[in-house]
């Protein structure tokens, strides 16, 4: 090989190690910040607007444990009818009541005189910064449970394709089929109908449309309900017939189709049957291509996770009801990863405890209904939707998305995994915080860490080459441009509306992600020092290109080190420790590569 690594490698290695330690400390600081969302009560309050006064209602906070009989007696003297604000009232003594706005202040003053009253004030209505105007959003307890209003401040899933592998979606007006009103205007890409073998994956059941609605119902459109990743793109894949059943072969085909056509997330709200190696291979194939495969754990109400959720590479989801407890019908078990709202209509005998979305009427694909469904199929799209938010917010691999989902889940702070809830109950806001995504700044800390590390590595390399400048190497525009390009990517492409163009979107990310759309995430070619070495071998280390090659190599080394310290995966390396070692070694090789190129420049080689 023509690459020369003259000069002592030992001092450089030591200095590099110091840089690595420094970077690790910086990353640990970032991670620490990201992991702290559970104790963020005040933070949650800060996310709310200051609120508006409700003129005709007051809130009276009695001493804890005050009984209804006690305040009923007091009411008579005050001329007001108070009631506990919620079931918590018997414990915390908080009541509310209607008043004439004209005498509100005088009445409050009078109430405050009673020693049993801790606080009395006008009621203030608070709301999150973004509240969709969909009229039935209030009924979507499930979205509140996973912290959606706050999460929308960060991401709505733009540029991410989610495949719904199900009974189809009511997404087009064709023949007897009609787009349901609350999916009009949603983003769709071409899918496929594996039941009827055509390109029109219309829904003749209703299940798939309901699932799709949870993921990407058109939101803030003054119609119906909201969806989690409402700016994501849906890919309808029909593998289940009008009865809601299908074959393992069609499901496997559907998974491979979605993986080959740009899906980053796939939702499989289906399962059962015996283990199928064909389907297991399809799940592994999708995962290798960088797709997160989200599957329903099953509705058996027993400690067995059904297939495909139980296959390696699948993310298994159990269901909780409005109380956050595991629903009685939900399957659970050793392969379980996370829990999400699936509804539980049996618990209190209430329809409203299901999940409300827009779908088609049973047996009539042309008629729209808003229906409350419950099942692990309903829990699964919550996770798929939040996964889309995470990809849109800067996550680049399914491993990264999984880590954020698990770290952000409620109850996750205890660090305990359980067979019933996995890593905990899904929390969209927590997951985004765990990723380090903030409003307007999603995923940027990794890019910033890569850039700072690249500068540190360049300085280290420069220090090990004291005669470099005397010999004529000057870091010009090519060097700086290539360093920025490899460390940060063409980050401005999404701002130009080019963030979802296949291939081009990959270039908006650091160099290690460029090959994902062709070779899958974590592929060895782009997760190693192979690229700069290949470029050097074809002659780019000479002439004008060598500065760019040196800058590219240093930027790549920085990104590889950041990946190593953030637990990113490498295809074919099942162990995260081995992956970290692989990435760190390749970072070192990329650095040696840069040093050799700069050194040859310093020696005046042409």
């Amino acid at each position: 090989m023509a690459v020369r690594t003259s000069g002592s490698a030992v001092p450089m290695f030591l200095l590099s190690s110091l840089a690595v330690v420094g970077a690790a400390a910086a990353l640990a600081t970032c991670s620490g910040r990201a992991g702290g969302h559970k104790s963020a009560g005040p933070q949650a309050a800060a996310d709310l607007n200051s609120g508006e006064l409700v003129a005709d209602t007051i809130v009276v906070d009695f001493q804890d444990g005050t009984t209804k009989a006690t305040y009923d007696e007091l009411e008579k003297g005050w001329g007001i009818d108070l009631e506990f604000n919620s079931v918590e009232g018997t414990q915390d003594g908080i009541t509310i009541g209607r008043v004439d706005p004209a005498r509100r202040e005088a009445l409050l003053e009078k109430i405050r005189q009673d020693p049993r009253v801790e606080r009395a004030e006008a009621l203030v209505r608070v709301h999150a910064d973004f509240v969709p105007n969909d009229p039935q959003f209030k009924a979507q307890w499930n979205l509140q449970l996973i912290g959606m209003p706050d999460a929308w401040e960060v991401s709505a899933g733009e540029g991410v394709t989610v495949a719904v592998i199900d009974t189809g979606i009511a997404y087009e007006d064709a023949g007897e089929f009609r787009t349901v009103p609350d999916l009009k205007g949603a983003r769709f890409v071409q899918g496929y109908d594996f039941v009827n073998d055509d390109e029109h994956a219309n829904d003749d059941h209703g299940h798939g449309t309901h699932v799709a609605g949870t993921i990407a119902q058109v939101t803030h459109n003054g119609e119906g309900v909201a969806g989690i990743a409402y700016k994501a793109t849906l890919m309808p894949i029909k593998v289940l017939d009008a009865n809601g059943s299908g074959t393992s072969a069609d499901v496997a085909d559907g998974i491979r189709f979605a993986a080959d056509h740009g899906a980053k997330v796939m939702n499989l709200s289906l399962g059962g049957g015996a283990r199928s190696q064909v389907m297991a291979d399809a799940v592994a194939y999708a995962r290798k291509k960088g797709v997160l495969v989200v599957c329903a754990a099953g509705n058996g109400g027993r400690g067995v996770v059904e297939f495909p959720a139980a296959y390696p590479g699948a993310l298994a989801v159990s269901a909780v009801g409005p109380t956050g407890e595991l629903a009685s019908y939900s399957s659970w078990g050793k392969e379980l990863d996370i829990a999400a709202p699936g509804g539980d209509k049996r618990l209190r005998g209430r329809e409203e405890d299901g999940i409300l979305q827009n779908t088609i009427a049973p047996g009539n694909p042309g008629r729209s209904v808003y229906a409350w469904f419950n099942g692990t199929s309903m829990a699964t799209p919550h996770v798929a939707g939040v996964a889309a938010l995470l990809f849109a917010a800067g996550a680049s691999t399914p491993e990264e998305v999984e880590q954020a989902l698990f770290a952000g889940a409620d109850h996750a702070r205890s660090g305990e995994w359980s067979e019933r809830l996995g890593h905990g109950v899904l929390n969209a806001k927590g997951a985004l915080q765990a990723l380090g995504a903030t409003p307007g700044g999603s995923g940027w800390w990794k890019r910033l860490a890569s850039l700072l590390l690249a500068i540190a590595l360049w300085l280290v390399t420069r220090m090990s080459l004291p005669r470099m400048f005397r010999a004529g190497f000057k870091p010009g525009a090519g060097f700086i441009g290539a360093l920025l390009l490899s460390a940060m990517g063409l980050f401005f492409l999404p701002w130009l509306g080019l963030g979802s163009v296949p291939g081009l979107s990959a270039l908006s990310k650091p160099a290690t992600e460029w090959g994902n759309w062709l070779l899958g995430s974590g592929n060895w070619l782009f997760s190693s020092a192979a690229l700069p070495i290949l470029l050097a071998m074809i002659g780019l280390r000479r002439g004008m290109a060598r500065g760019a090659l040196a800058g590219f190599s240093i930027g790549l080394a920085a990104v590889l080190l950041v990946k190593a310290f953030t637990g990113a995966g490498v295809a074919w390396l099942s162990s995260s420790v081995l992956a970290a070692i692989f990435l760190a070694l390749n970072a070192f090789m990329a650095l040696l590569m840069a040093r050799a190129v700069m050194h040859s420049a310093g020696r005046g080689e042409r």
Binding site: D166, T167, H205, G206, H207, H210, V239, L240, D241, N243, G244, S245, G246, T247, S248, A249, V251, S269, L270, G271, G272, G273, A274, S276, A296, G298, N299, G300, R302, V304, E306, F307, P308, Y329, S331, K345, R346, T359, P362, A371, F373, N374, G375, T376, S377, M378
Partner: protein, 72 residues
């Protein structure tokens, strides 16, 4: 194979039907089930168990693909 039993409507997943067979085994149903939507319907079904079958029911119970159904 033939199965005799009673149709049950489950409230999960927007609703699906199962057969509670005379031997006590429950079967998820696929195939020709259009006429089998009524709770409590007594039927005799002709068809096959599909070991590779998947469904929205997703209970782990066997999926019986109905070819012919007779009301009893």
């Amino acid at each position: 194979m033939k199965l005799k039993g009673t149709i049950r409507r489950e409230d999960l997943e927007g609703g699906y039907i199962v057969l509670l067979a005379e031997d006590g085994q429950r079967y998820l149903l696929g195939g020709a089930t259009k006429a089998l939507r009524h709770e409590g319907l007594k039927v005799e079904l002709e068809g096959e168990i599909d070991p590779g079958g998947v469904s929205i029911g997703n209970t782990g119970e066997p999926l019986f693909r109905v070819k012919k159904a007779n009301k009893l």
